[in-house]
Amino acid sequence: MNAFPRLQNLFILLIVFLYAAFSAIHIAAAEPTYLNRADRLNGWKTLEKFEDLFQDHRGSVVEILDNDKQVALGTIVSDDGFIVTKASEFGQLLEIRLSDYSKHVAEQVSVDEANDLALLKIRASGLNPVDWSDACDPKMGQWVMSPHEDKSQVRIGVISALTRPVPKQFGALGVVTVDNADSLTESDLLEPNILADSINKGVRPIDRWIRNEISNDAKSALMSDLNDPVQQVPFLRFLLRDLNFMIFERILYREDRFEGVPLSVPTQQAILEVGSRIRRPVLNRMLLVDSFPGLIKAGESGARILDVVADSAAERASLEPGDLITAINASSVDGSQDLVRLIRKHTAGEMITISLVRDGRFLIESVTLGFFDTTFPDQDVNIALSGDISDRRTGFQKIIQHDMPLSPKAMGGPLMDLQGRVIGINIARYDRVATYALPADLVQILIQKMK
């Protein structure tokens, strides 16, 4: 009685085995292999191998809560409750959740503005502080691991570039402006044949921007405008230079009543500043012209606001379309290009004063500049393809760069080697490719200073 079922099992096993072997051969012959998500570098099957390494250090990582929502991670640096995290992610009232799920009100001891690092303190004892590594300059290619946004999960990657300072990025106001004709030189006017030339030279005006946002009709109308220099309708000339996908646009208007009065932003820098907001005027050019009659006045000096970017420094300071910006701090503004130059002297977070004319009245507004990248998010295609990134992602004394795909909400967590020693504190999700961490030696010095 006993032997039979065993034999039967064996038989079934044999069939299963043969079938498996056959399908394997079949697959090998016909199908190119494909790596499932789970088996990729940050797939769960690969991460499983790192789980045990990470396990012992989980207790040193905390969640930073702002209004009960996780905004960042924090790293415990002493057993009596000192915690470091990324400063710019939270407001005034904050709580800490430890790995045992207990919540504690945190007091902000100090903030190092230069590196966006905050030192917090909770009332607790017997906590599990991290082990700092002595190696201050990790080598490229070295394995690293960090907790992800959900801190029970680990992510892995390698040190991916030279350890270096990252200077602070210039600030952004968030306005689209127009100039009068005085500031435009002949060299700013592009002849249509330049575009044709560029296309012939292999520069292709094919881009997401065109594909997504200009209909075929609009595109062919545009092309005929471009190819017909004698056409006297309000026409656009623009140069699309596909510098490895980076688009520079130049947009000019001409019509009898606006002859020589371009609604233009004549330089590449200016276009970067106005960002994608210029697209709307491109698409609705008649609308634009009609809705701002008499926008440009002869002899006027300054930069006229055409549009205010949503959620920008300009909007927070209640700047309005139609305002004429005449000065930044004490320097007078001579056109859009000049405005860009003056604004870029300042970094994000700096306060500037803007002199402007609204309905014939002179006003002075104080504005705290925003971050360029987040003010004009779709200007830089690299950011559009990066998912969520940190707001404050530049301006650090020294950073270690690695390639772990971490969420901005995982900043403040530790960057560890495979022994679990901390070589840095994650401080900014920079883009699709890079996450920055403040090196351990710098963090330890900053903690001493802040205590």
Binding site: A28, A29, A30, E31, P32, T33, Y34, L35, R37, D39, R40, L41, N42, K49, D52, L53, K139, M140, G141, Q142, W143, G157, V158, I159, S160, A161, L162, R164, P165, N200, K201, G202, V203, R204, D242, L243, N244, F245, M246, V381, N382, L385, S386, G387, Q401, D403, P405, L418, D431, R432, V433, A434
Partner: protein, 306 residues
């Protein structure tokens, strides 16, 4: 016992990861020295001591133009663009001036397998001297349709940069990405190998014609270990007239080796109807060659067919 076993396999795992790390680090010096900035904001890799650079077709652009490359130390070097194979995003650039240049070896020309380790270098966001070229470590997700897909995350500016195997051999050139982080595509080195002489000679290699202008063979196919398997021959098609049969395996067209439907599409669809092509194919074990006059497009969708 079980516990011990688990621990052993765990240490074995980590040891294998550490081995990967030392292989990458051993290859990194040469790989970094040969990775250059190309043009205004692309990347490339030097593959010969006399300064031949592989890059993406959309970075090098039209042949015979003067451009500037940036060496890892920031030095600017004048260069001339060579051939351009847009369909596979394969381009070449020749550095001008005295060699020998630091260079990386080219990997073997077969497609890489899913799960193979690889690493990417390049200049995402443009050349940055303080940062240097940026390393990304990952694995091959799959290699088909003329492209290698990996989880080495790329960004604009990386275009044209090299993908290496752990021995530091160039196995691909960064081409394009999708929004998901694992959508990173590289032109395989085989795309260059197939067109090496033409690219070196500065040719612009044409891509497939648009649908209503292209010649049609009249078959549906699937990938096979020895080439491209004919799954179906359409009645009255050019393939049927020439005598091709179901289960024949196409190996090359006009001397161009076909190991991927991506290349088959190109080898057929770059021709107009009426053009004669030579097809080398296997029937059973027998290798034969025939000439086919390509037919007219039928008008209905030729999805999955050629």
């Amino acid at each position: 016992m079980l516990q011990l076993g688990a621990e052993q396999s765990f240490h074995k795992n980590i040891a294998s990861f550490q081995k990967t790390q030392s292989q990458v680090q051993a290859s990194l010096k040469t790989a970094m020295a040969s990775t250059v900035g190309v043009g205004d904001s692309g990347s490339g890799v030097i593959v010969s001591p006399d300064g031949l650079v592989l890059t993406a077709a959309h970075v090098s652009g039209a042949p015979n133009r003067n451009i500037t490359c940036r060496l890892p130390d920031g030095k600017r070097v004048r260069a001339r663009t060579l051939g351009n194979f847009d369909y596979m995003d394969a381009g070449m650039v020749q550095l001008e001036g005295e060699g020998p240049w630091p260079c990386s070896p080219i990997g073997n020309r077969r497609l890489n397998d899913a799960g193979d380790w690889c690493f990417a270098l390049g200049h995402p966001g443009g050349f940055d001297l303080d940062r240097g070229s940026v390393l990304r470590l990952g694995v091959v997700i799959h290699a088909r349709d003329g492209f290698i897909r990996t989880d080495c995350k790329l960004l604009r500016g990386d275009s044209g940069g090299p993908l290496f195997n752990l021995s530091g051999e160039v196995i691909g050139i960064h081409s394009r990405i999708g929004e998901p982080l694992d959508d990173n595509y590289h032109a395989p080195i085989s795309a260059f190998g197939k067109m090496w002489d033409e690219l070196l000679a500065g040719d612009t290699i044409p891509g497939p014609l648009i649908r209503r202008n292209r010649g049609v063979l009249g078959v549906s196919v699937e990938t096979h270990s020895k080439g491209i398997l004919l799954k179906e021959i359409r009645r009255g098609s050019a393939a049927e007239k020439a005598g091709l049969k179901r289960n024949d395996v196409i190996q090359s067209i006009d001397g161009f080796p076909i190991d991927d439907t991506f290349y088959l599409r190109w080898a057929i669809s770059k021709n107009s109807p009426g053009v004669h092509i030579n097809i080398q194919y296997l029937r059973g074990d027998k290798l034969s060659e025939i000439t086919v006059e390509l037919g007219q497009p039928t008008g209905r969708s030729e999805r999955g067919g050629f």
